[in-house]
Symmetry: C2
Subunit: 233 residues, 2 copies
């Protein structure tokens, strides 16, 4: 590990950017988010097979397509930085694939909760991390994370299912806790395995705090989302 | 079943449109193509799991996303006609799902050949049928069928695989014949089961001829595509 990085002249650097932003850390972050979006595309398409109607199936496909659009934006940025998107994503394949293998939804409702809650946690995490990036990259990450407008669809479907059978709520609340636990577990693994990314997070420690404090803040937002679904967290 | 449909006044009907274009037949055709595109989206996403690299995986996802865009166009048209897209697609679910169940690719190359050849046959069929439609619907169908520009990717990958191992060509040629046989079998079933669609095809018989002659013309185009892949048909 090294602390040397290109010094950004104080006059041109935006105030919020740490002086020694490591290029490999930024590439790691972009690679991580790119693979997360690509794999989200595939998981959402898979989960659509569980949909009870053709319209619901199409709605989940639409969410998947939005994730792929995000992947394309990130791929463009990675290539603009002169890097290979496959190489940038590779360090994160195992952790993200494991997350999804360990959280395969058993039915349509679990799939919806995963799409909403998983997407939400990931977005909060990236949004927090984005604050340490240069302003161009930050703007791109925020664009990728803009709500794709599908939340209302999920909230509507989950609340209707709970209204029809209140016992569903307990099972889905448990499922939400499991999702957040698995997500944090894999995030910890990524932070431990990828030094450049871990340093990027540490660079921004005045905003981010340590990983534990970040998890606490992510958990608060997660609880808000569970409430929106009508679930206790 | 009934042969009565609203009579289109001769003065306002475009010259190429048969006088008694049955609305249910048009809706059937749009529903058939819409479901074909939706299911193609899901099958391509599934088949991407077989991709040897992350870049190839992303390329197949991109083809899937293009199919979903087509589905959205068709859904818009069906809704503009005051119909429900789920209802319009339902009569064709069994035949298309059966086609895909009977032609699940065993590996990445079979998936590529299926994407290219299956897409091509479907496009030729819709293009032929579109000639009997009103000009707005015809324009929409032709837009949906415009080459999504992914052919070059498939041709490149399949030709490279044959160059690396010429024995691959025999297996893939057999696979291509099987795909076209299954496609025609399901097309015949759809024509037999859906009277309004069958009548739409018969209405345009001066352009289309009977189903047998249409198959013959589709087979010619199929052979051209197989040659492009470096395969005998």
């Amino acid at each position: 590990m090294t602390d040397e990085g290109p010094e950004i002249p104080a006059a041109t650097a935006p105030a919020a950017v740490p002086a020694a932003l490591e290029p490999q850390g930024v590439l790691d972050l972009l690679g991580l988010i790119a693979y997360a979006q690509l794999v989200a595309f595939f998981r959402l398409s898979d989960d659509a097979a569980l949909a009870p109607t053709l319209a619901d199936k199409a709605a989940l496909a639409e969410m998947a397509v939005a994730e792929f659009g995000h992947f394309q934006l990130l791929r463009g940025r990675i290539e603009a930085l002169g890097a290979d998107v496959g190489q940038a994503m590779t360090p994160f394949v195992a952790a993200l694939d494991d997350f999804h293998a360990r959280t395969a939804p058993a039915d349509w409702l679990e799939g919806l909760v995963k799409a909403y809650v998983g997407d939400g946690i990931a977005a909060d995490f990236y949004r927090t991390v984005a604050t340490v990036l240069d302003s161009d990259t930050e703007a791109l990450v925020l664009e990728v994370l803009a709500d794709t407008g599908h939340s209302a669809f999920v909230i509507d479907r989950v609340r209707a299912a709970i209204a029809a059978d209140p016992r569903v709520a307990g099972r889905l609340a448990l499922w939400g806790r499991r999702l957040v636990g698995e997500a944090f577990g894999q995030a910890q693994r990524v932070a431990a395995e990828r030094a450049p990314l871990a340093r990027l997070l540490a660079d921004g420690s005045h905003q981010l705090g340590d990983l534990g404090r970040m998890f606490a803040s992510l958990t608060d937002a997660h609880e808000d989302r569970m409430s929106a679904l009508g679930l206790s967290s």
